[in-house]
């Protein structure tokens, strides 16, 4: 699920950096995915909330906050999304996006295993 998104994002930025893919196309393909990613993430957290998994929700809160912050700082644009083709090629922004992608990937992976562990733990205890 989310892992997939993060991987997709990293691949895309890497393409942008190394390959000569047109930033406009790339941004057009990435931008629509940003909101769904956030939505899925929030949806999982709602589920956790519903299951009274407070610890898990707590772990995820920073990321939600970060997402909200990031989206509120997005460049002026009419469509949804975060990435602006005219600024994305700036080395700072590009590397920042790459790092963000890796960070999210790590986070999603860890939480995936954590959820798995919790699930098995719960199953075993019952």
């Amino acid at each position: 699920f989310l892992i997939f998104f993060a991987i997709w994002q990293i691949i895309a930025f890497d393409e942008l950096k190394t390959d000569y893919k047109n930033p406009i196309d790339q941004c057009n393909s990435l931008n629509p995915l940003v909101l769904p990613e956030y939505a899925i993430h929030v949806f999982y957290n709602l589920l956790f909330l519903w299951a009274f998994e407070w610890l898990t929700v707590l772990l995820n809160l920073p990321l939600i906050a970060y997402n909200v912050y990031r989206y509120s700082k997005r460049p002026v644009m009419s469509g949804p999304g975060l990435y602006d083709p005219t600024t994305i090629m700036n080395a700072d922004i590009l590397s920042y996006c790459m790092k963000e992608g890796w960070g999210k990937l790590a986070f999603y992976l860890l939480s995936f295993f954590y959820y798995l562990y919790r699930m098995i733990y719960v199953l075993v205890t019952y």
Binding site: K17, P23, I24, T86, M89, N90
Partner: protein
Amino acid sequence: MAQSNPYYQNSAQSGGYQYGTQPNVAGPPPQGYNMKDQYRGNQPPMTAPNYPPSTVNGYNNYPQRGYSPNTQPPPQPGYSPNTQPPPQNTMNGPPVSAGYYSNTYPKSAPNPAMPPYSQSQFTPPKSNSPLPNAPQRNSPQPQPNVSNGPHAPSRPPPSMGTSYSSAPPPNVHQNPYQTGTAGYPSNIGPTSHAPPPNVPQSFPNQTSQHGHSLPPPPLPGQQLSAPPSAQPAPPPLPGQQYVPPNPLAAPPLPQPSGAPQAPMTQPPQTNAYQFNGPPPTGSSINRQPGPQPQYPGSLPQPNQQPLSHAMGRMNLSEAERPINLMQEKRLLPPHKHVETPLRFETTADQGMLVPPNRKNCNPSVFCPTLKAVPHTQNLLGKVKLPFGLIIHPFKDLSSLPVISAGTIVRCKRCRTYINPFVSFLQERKWRCNMCFMVNDTAEEFLHHPVTKTYGEPHTRPECTNSTIEFIAPQEYMLRPPQPAVYLFLMDVSHSAIESGYLQIVCDSLLDHLDHMPGDGRTRIGFLTYNGTVHFYRLSEGLSQPQMIIVSDIDDVFIPTPENLLVNLRESKSLVQDLLHQLPLLHTVDAEGEIDTYSALGAALEVGKKLIGASGGRVTVFQQAIPSIGPGMLKKREDPNARAGEQSTTALNPSTDYYKKLALDCSAQQVAIDFFFFNSQYIDIATLSCASRFSAGDMHYYPSLHTVHNPVEAERLGRDLERYLSRKIGFESVMRIRCTKGLAIHTFHGNFFVRSTDLLSLANINPDAGYAVNLSIEDPLTDLSAVCFQAALLYTTSKGERRIRVHTLCIPVVKTPAEVFNSVDCVAVISLLSKMAVDRSVTASVSDAREALMNAMVDPLKSYKETLPQGMTTAGVYVPKSLRLLPLYIQCLLKHRAFRTGISTRLDDRVFAMINFKMQPALYQMLDLHPDLYRVDDLNDEGVITVSGREIPQPHILPLTAESLSQSGAFLLDCGWKMYLLVGRQTSQSFIKDVLDYPQFSNIEEPLSSIPELENPLSEMFHSFVDWLQENRPHHAPISVIRDDSRDRHLVLSRLIQDRTESSMSMQEFLMNLQQKLT
């Protein structure tokens, strides 16, 4: 003087190539060179007077400025070539190399005599004899220099093939200059550095300074760096300061001379000597005075570098001695004057590298901020200076080698074009200087097209010219070259018509229809819009143009498929007809109801559709804020907040409509150029996106009105003249390559970045400037030099596909001191201003101001750390290359773009920022730091001759009210405008002979034209003003301002060294700086 002059010339030419010069090889001076050359070669140690200058020259590569008056008649050979334009376009432009740059440099005789005012200025310092101490401080040699010197030479050439150092040796001995010209095979046209217009201001003092400078042998690094800086970099302040004192001190000459000489012989030694500095320093200072007299003429150029070397640090300000500061101020300008002639053609190529054929491209085309690259990011971080390139890729060059080759030789891996800095391992192998891949040389390339020799690939024009143009074969076209297509969009809303701009534009167009670049396929079209969009059908059958009005602006369509865009040649009479009628069609009274709307968005959209298929240029004349239809904008400016901190959001676009439009346009090779004439807020911040991302051009005429504001109207007319007739390149892309290890961090300018090193430019015009920030990703430790190549692929207006390639090579250094000695202050300021604009937009203006301050303080701080103990007691020490940094930073802080506390219209501010981003550095500097001249006493002193006209060379005065007086007339050249301030007691002869008024009280205002009268004074005045005008791409209208006029503030507000209510004076600023440094 005369003697000295020769030196200058040399220096100018020299463009010290080899940075890696080996120490004294006494080479026979090249033929062309006069005694000067010999000097260098021999460098007789003791010949104190002459020799010092020579050395100095060697150091400085100030190609441009150096033009000291050449009293000596024989221009060196190098020059002559220049005059003759190399054959362009010839298939194999052979030695095309001959200077690109026109060498119209007048040789002016040096001015021995100082201008009256100058004297006065100087005198004060003298009185303060105490200064001698100051010199001592300076004296301690900058360690850095020392290190530089030795390192560069000593460094073994890196493994890479490029061994700069080795090659030159013979020449080396001689001055770099010589090598440049003479050393090369005839093929290489010595790029002549055109003899710079002489430096008029040779003050004795300066000369003394030179003396200082003498000691340092030309260090390679420095040389490299020097050239670029030379132009821009104005006079070394510090040196000047010193100077005055020195003369007084009248120290023993011999010591200094001896010292310098030694260095000359062996560069490293010299350095050492410098280190030792302390003892010598004191003495050195003194010495200078002695030598001065000898070289008076030569002064200016030498000053810069030598000082830096020798003195390393100058004491800019000392709290205890305000006098010093004063001196600085005054001294600065004069130098600058010399250096800043905007005519860039003068700038000679700087020959840098060893191999006989290597020379860098014109620094005004391609200029690094640091003329020596720190070898690691770490070192760069320590130095805290911005590292980047300032590029002016499509600059009009007076001569440019054009090559039409079947195949263009490029590196197989990185696709770098072959250039003078590659190395040939053998005849058949060459190593790329960017990625170090070894390539095979094509059989075809072994033939020299001109000399018909075989097996000497390195003598081909591609390998001897660092600026070259190729005619591109088929592979470089994605589609057949497009024709030139021009579309004009004119705002005819009520207020726009009222301003009367339409008449000016139509008249200009009528006058220049024939001069618009293009061929038989050129097409042209017109649209006007207010609340609706009007099309003009120009079909052949019609006897007169037919206007079609589309009122559905939310979904604009093209009313008829054809004849809206017509072939200029075939339908010329109709077009002319239309242009005659347009102003009549849209008049204030013509329409029953007043239409105040402006549907710019709709017009642009339809314009894009109209020419999208072919690409081309859309020119928009916009007067009112777009208020209807797509892309409508709201007023965001809060008039009450003009003086204070404007919100950052107002500097950012309010909608991305124009940005998206621009991206679409860019993809279709359409560029949008804007002319703004607003008298009220129109949100340039948002509209400019349309130009910014489609590589367009923007012009701004605040409150233009044919009646109420004739000055702007004149400016528009003249700018249009240039705009319509200048060269233009279509569907272009520019790629900037750099040596492995360097990476491009950020681009500045108007374009769309398509990949990490590729800019897509729908149009390219000769007045567009770009810049990049660079970062060092991998250490460059094992390299001796790095290269940059900017390749611009474009379609000419004649439908020819061409590639213009500029290559630059600069050395790598390992110590901060070396870096500090090779800074190009103007380039740094230009880059800083661009970065500050970015900061303003992303953070806030006050953030940007802070960042600018830090950008000044941090390097000076780290510079201080490189100084030996004991020198750092009091005062602000800056490397010579950075001596103007504080002044320019202050200019920036007081500039419209970044100032606070003064009411600034948002549009003015935004446009000033845009200008910083898109102007080439040299045009930008006048806007930043205007030149002030006294013109009521023009005389023959230091006259230079340009194309047969004699041009007086008044001194540049410091920008302070102290420079003004009631009894003089002063010309303030602000880049975009000039002001002539006439003092109340200006001599009658000036008022009468130049202004044609009987006396002061009769002068009427506003007066924006000055009659050409037939008397010497008037002729001299006009030739001076015309010369200033020629040095820039746009026209600067001149307005006469009476001393008692209420417009006086226009001039006074530009005197940036003075205190104002909300800003510090230069002195306070320096004191503030000093505090921060301690």
